[in-house]
Symmetry: C2
Amino acid sequence: MSWLDQVAWNEKGLAPVITQEFSTKQVLTLAWMNREALALTAEKGHAVYWSRSRQKLWHKGEQSGHQQQVKSIRIDCDNDAILLEVEQIGGIACHTGRHHCFFNKLIDGQWQATEPVIKNPEDIYS
Amino acid sequence: MSWLDQVAWNEKGLAPVITQEFSTKQVLTLAWMNREALALTAEKGHAVYWSRSRQKLWHKGEQSGHQQQVKSIRIDCDNDAILLEVEQIGGIACHTGRHHCFFNKLIDGQWQATEPVIKNPEDIYS
């Protein structure tokens, strides 16, 4: 049995993937993979996700250059969530131009942005 | 508009929650919350999840004593994933008796357990 078959893919054939920066241990993103995306991630050594909005494989960094180089791949105790450790090329994981996607923090009953935009998204994706 | 209404709950009314240990920055678990679980987590100051297998609220640690004391609550750029920073009481987040749930690592094409069992689950849940 392949390690890929041991993943408990959900009813849509997907699993959530936590991506954590290897050097800082900061959680960068939560994204999704299907079987093919996980196979490609292991084979290529960079993160390949399944884009639920575009319904296609998404080689992270294909447009922005902000590739994620994989250091380790882990799975949880019930085999339905994946944890990637990566080095984030360019230091920007978020499409808003921030270091990571979890920049809104609950403070006094409101979500408040606590992280700066490093690069204007128009400059990243132009 | 309440901060709870700003979460992009999925078609089942849930959002995935990454729980990270505040002191070590280790990713402990991926779990799920509904609106009520998130409200209770913020109100009580300890992690309350939605158990998909039991279909009910799950005050983490209610049986084991391994409560998670919340240090911060964050949401991602598209409002559909949550990141908790917690202190893990008892040092055990996983029902297998391990520190965290991501103890299986992909090595040479196989998922291999890389973390010790700290406490026998039979002793945790008896």
